[in-house]
């Protein structure tokens, strides 16, 4: 489903129905997904539509700017140790319309369950998009419409064993790559103590030949300076 399409298009995949049809001088965009329907009249455009996975923080509402992944089983990391693991993340798909070499987001939809959570306390904490993931030692096969893959390198910089139960990422720094099989990201997590860690994304694909996703906030011209996230309310 990901990629650039020439208008008119009509896509039906899993529980998603998406179409862009010409209606006179304008374009009619229609999308239905899990009971939610969107209809928009597009007055301009270059006759193309781009669909790609984006930072998974837009659904159910644009309230969160962080993604919290809770691990199904806790992970113990030895002192000064590093371990590469694979986690999953919820895939959110954005529809972009290119116009005069700029891309405008017209819609975002997602198939997996959408939930929010609070990381930290209600005063100082942050609202995060919530996702629960198993820990995979090797790359698992996933439904690419629902789950993406994060290759996470966890480093324990301390001299004690640390138990990891979750990872929180700043969604604005996410670098998503996709191909026919999957959407993926690469990230680092540096454990700085029993209760704190720093996470950041690496701008590299997990495999050669993957296409870089257009980021929503780049398309929206929102400049974000801080891309790392300091987890100070527990790991």
């Amino acid at each position: 489903m990901f990629g650039q399409y020439d208008i008119p298009i009509s896509i039906e995949q899993e529980e998603i129905t998406l179409s862009v049809q010409k209606e006179g001088e304008s374009l009619l965009y229609r999308r239905a997904c899990l009971g939610e329907t969107v209809e928009k009249m597009l007055v301009a455009g270059d006759g193309k539509v781009l669909l790609n996975p984006v930072e998974p923080v837009n659904k159910p509402k644009s309230l969160a700017s962080h993604l919290l992944i809770e691990l199904e089983k806790t992970m113990q990391i030895e002192p000064k140790g590093t371990r590469d693991i694979f986690l999953t993340f919820p895939v959110e798909i954005a529809v972009f319309i290119p116009s005069n070499e700029e891309f405008e987001v017209i819609d975002v939809f997602t198939l997996p369950r959408q939930k929010l959570t609070l990381y930290g306390d209600p005063v100082n904490g942050v609202i995060c998009k919530y996702w629960k993931s198993s820990i995979y030692p090797a790359e698992p096969s996933l439904n690419r419409m629902q789950e993406g893959l994060i290759e996470l390198s966890v480093t324990n910089t301390t001299t004690s064993w640390i138990e990891v139960t979750k990872a929180v990422f700043n969604a604005y720094g996410m670098k998503i790559y996709y191909d026919d099989d999957k959407a993926s990201m690469k990230a680092n997590m540096r454990l700085k103590g029993g209760q704190s860690a720093e996470t950041e994304f690496i701008d590299e694909p997990v495999e050669e030949g993957m296409t870089k996703s257009l980021e929503i906030y780049t398309a929206g011209k929102l400049s974000v300076s801080r891309k790392k996230f300091l987890m100070e309310f527990g790991v």
Binding site: L63, K115, L116, L118, V126
Partner: protein
């Protein structure tokens, strides 16, 4: 000597030069203090409030400098003080509340218990803060009208800021019949709450039997939602809970009293000796 040349009354050129130097020094002090205030309060006060504070400070320094230089220009302050004292007394009484509001406004700007756009409750008045001015604060209540509250009143009132935290908890009390299965009702309510995408996973929702009421077993549901969304979630969930419980045969009872007659025979006598119908 040119400096001793008398211009008018006893005012000399030298006096004028001293006046000019004092005014220049006052200007430099005012400018330096303005810059210091702007740097020091940049993070603590909004741009508009900072401008007001800087202007008030600058003008105060100029007024002090003016009072200092007036005698050098031949203006007698003793006469002004007598007249000013009486006028000041009158103005003081008249502007007591204005000054009170002004000072409260300055403290509100520094303390910042709320910001523009916050949803606050000031002594029972709930609304969205539209503007915070030096004398008054404007609230837009949820039924539409704008309400102007003097800063003095706000400063001395109990203020609840609903939007200061990122998440907020709300609760329902749901009464079910004594004959219903409370465990089943709790499970239905929990499932429904957890399905809602805007209900937070953490802090986890709590659903439990809170008390055994006169007419019902009262179940409390405590739910956390993002601070900007809690009211919408609250409105949406309650009716869904009611419908889900009713679908499973669990009903929310009306208030009721069970009346026991101490003497059944006398109750029958009241209905009349010929009546045998117990339901009558």
């Amino acid at each position: 000597m040119m400096l001793n040349k008398v211009l008018y009354h006893s005012v000399t050129v030298f006096d004028l030069m001293v006046v000019a130097i004092i005014l220049i020094i006052a200007m430099v002090i005012a400018k330096a203090l303005s810059l210091y205030l702007k740097r020091f309060l940049r993070e603590k006060a909004s741009k508009g409030h900072l401008e007001v504070l800087v202007k008030v400070t600058s003008y105060s320094i100029f007024i002090i400098a003016l009072i200092v230089v007036l005698p050098l220009l031949g203006v007698r302050l003793s006469g002004l003080l007598v007249a000013g004292g009486i006028a000041g007394l009158a103005i003081g009484f008249a502007s007591q509340s204005v000054i009170g509001n002004l000072i409260s406004g300055l403290f509100l700007m520094l303390e910042r218990p709320f910001a523009i756009g916050s949803v606050i409750n000031v002594d029972g008045t709930v609304g969205i803060v539209e503007d915070i001015r030096i004398i008054s604060t404007t609230l837009r209540t949820f039924d539409g009208p704008l309400m102007r509250l003097p800063n003095q009143k706000i400063f001395t009132a109990n203020i609840t800021n609903y939007a200061v935290n990122v998440a907020r908890r709300f609760e329902y009390v749901i009464g079910i019949r004594y004959s219903d299965n409370a465990d089943k009702a709790i499970e239905i309510i929990k499932n429904l709450i957890q399905e809602h995408p805007l209900v937070l996973i953490n802090p986890a929702p709590m659903v439990f039997v809170d008390n055994l009421g006169d007419s019902s077993v009262n179940i409390i549901a405590r739910i956390w939602a993002p601070a900007t969304e809690w009211f919408g979630v609250k409105m949406e969930l309650l009716w869904k809970i009611k419908q889900a419980l009713e679908k499973e045969g669990i009903e929310i009872p009306f208030p009721q009293h069970v009346v026991w007659f101490a003497n059944e025979l006398s109750a029958r006598e009241m209905r009349g000796p010929e009546s045998d119908n117990p339901d009558y």
